[in-house]
Every structure is written in structure tokens, then in C-alpha cells.
Symmetry: C2
Subunit: 149 residues, 2 copies
């Protein structure tokens, strides 16, 4: 336990004793060039803190769920859809994804993009958009131009 | 609500819509030159995410509590006591403070020092060391040289 009290950063946003994992199981949902690292996951903590990083051109899954996300951009700049709005975000900006709100993060084409994400340890599984959900999202030209499915 | 989905960083580790607050009420406990900003506090989230920043020479209160801390250093470098060990930490290093473990953060004398701290939203109040606790801590020369009370 003692040797885990401090886990130094070993390279930019990589940590001693933290495994770089697949974002999700391949084929489970649409995403591209994104990894996941779980920084804190502890029975004594009611939330987890994760770090997600995308390569240039990468994106997270377009999804929603009952649980909320509390996000701080940690590396570079990118864009995020929250509900029906697309925001430009950069290092240290804060993003709040409320319950049951469609969201997707996208890296730019020429640089990596990373962010911290705090979530409840007990949470529901993400929902993917149905055909009807997608139809509704695509009605907004800004949203239609942004989302990747 | 919509205008709070994204809160940009407005200056280094200062955010639009986030108030820079006193660390604690003056006189409630020993500390020096430290501020607190609550980045996420939401009924939908079981934890809060805060940012603490110290001026050169600043320090947090030497304390312990039942709840755990999940910390990521966010600005500069400093030192931290966890239990009976003093660690040098710098940007993006991860610090885990287990339950009922004495801890104190200290900035260097020549630069500010800041860190993110995730805690359970429902948590117990910090305990200050009794005279007997302090006697025990001061028996270790490295700890005795480090702590500020």
C-alpha cells in the first residue's frame, strides 16, 4: 500500500502503476483512437477519476446515460458536443455533462487531446442513439457536422 | 444551466464562474496562504472536485479524517506528508491519502503550488492532532522537520 501513496507521472499524462487501457471493447460502440487510464478507483471513494486521451482525429462514443460527467481538459484543445451545442475547449476548461445528455469529444486532426473525467463509481451503462435519436440530432446542422457515428 | 456546461479557464487555474474562496475559516485550524476553488459540486455526483493553491511558503492544515483524498498535482512542485512519509511531488503526480492518515501539503518558498482534490460529497470533519498525536509524529525527525502546526 505504502508504495502506492504517490504515483509519479512518468511521461506526459502517463503514470507509474496506471495501465493504459482500451477505451471500450472493440465493436461495442463507435469510437476512434482513444485510450483510458483509471487514476483513482477505491472502495473508500464514491467516484472514480479517469484520464482519456485521443490521438489526432480521435473521438469518443456519442452516448448518454443517467450519470453525470465532471470533466477537466488536461492536454491540448478539442471540441465537445453537450446536448445540442458544440463547444471549443482547451487546457483546464471545465465541462459538465448532465444526466441523459448526448455528448461526444473530438480531438483536432493535428494534435492529441486529453481530459480528466470524474464519475460516480456506481453508474448506469451508456446508451447509444437509436435511429430516431440520430434523426433528431441530425436535424441541427451544427450537430450533424460534428457527430461521428 | 446551459451557460454552465462549459466554464473556461480565465487565467492560470482560475475559472469563469468559480469563486476563489478561503481555504477554511480563519482561526479554525493552522494553515498559511492557501485558497480553495470548488470546480464540481453537484447532487448528481457523489464526489466533489476542488482545486487548492498555495502561495510560496504556504501549507495546508496537518489533519486526518475518515474520508480519503484523491489528489493530482496541477501546478508546480511541492512536498506532502502522508502518514509518516514525506514525498516530493510535481505536476500531474497522483497522491492517495487513505482514511485516518495524517497529511499536510507544503509549497516551496519560491513558487506557488496547486493540486486537484477529489473527495466524497458526504464526509466527516477533519481531526486536528492532539498533543499525544503530535508527540508521536515529532518522534520521527523527517516528519518533525516537515510539519507546520
Amino acid at each position: 500500500m505504502t508504495d502506492r501513496l504517490v504515483r509519479p507521472q512518468t511521461a506526459e499524462n502517463r503514470w507509474d502503476g496506471v495501465e493504459e487501457m482500451r477505451y471500450k471493447a472493440e465493436g461495442s460502440a463507435p469510437f476512434r483512437d482513444i485510450t483510458r487510464q483509471v487514476l483513482f478507483q477505491d472502495p473508500a471513494l464514491a467516484c472514480e477519476l479517469r484520464y482519456f486521451e485521443m490521438q489526432p482525429g480521435g473521438y469518443s462514443t456519442l452516448e448518454r446515460h443517467e450519470h453525470a460527467h465532471a470533466v477537466m481538459i488536461q492536454r491540448g484543445a478539442g471540441r465537445v458536443l453537450v446536448g445540442n451545442r458544440v463547444f471549443d475547449v482547451s487546457e483546464h476548461d471545465l465541462v459538465h455533462v448532465p444526466a441523459l445528455t448526448w455528448h461526444q469529444f473530438r480531438a483536432p486532426d493535428d494534435a492529441p487531446f486529453g481530459f480528466l473525467c470524474m464519475v460516480n463509481a456506481e453508474r448506469d451503462r451508456p446508451q447509444l442513439p437509436t435511429a430516431a435519436d440520430l434523426d433528431a440530432l441530425l436535424r441541427d446542422p451544427a450537430v450533424a457536422a460534428f457527430i461521428r457515428t
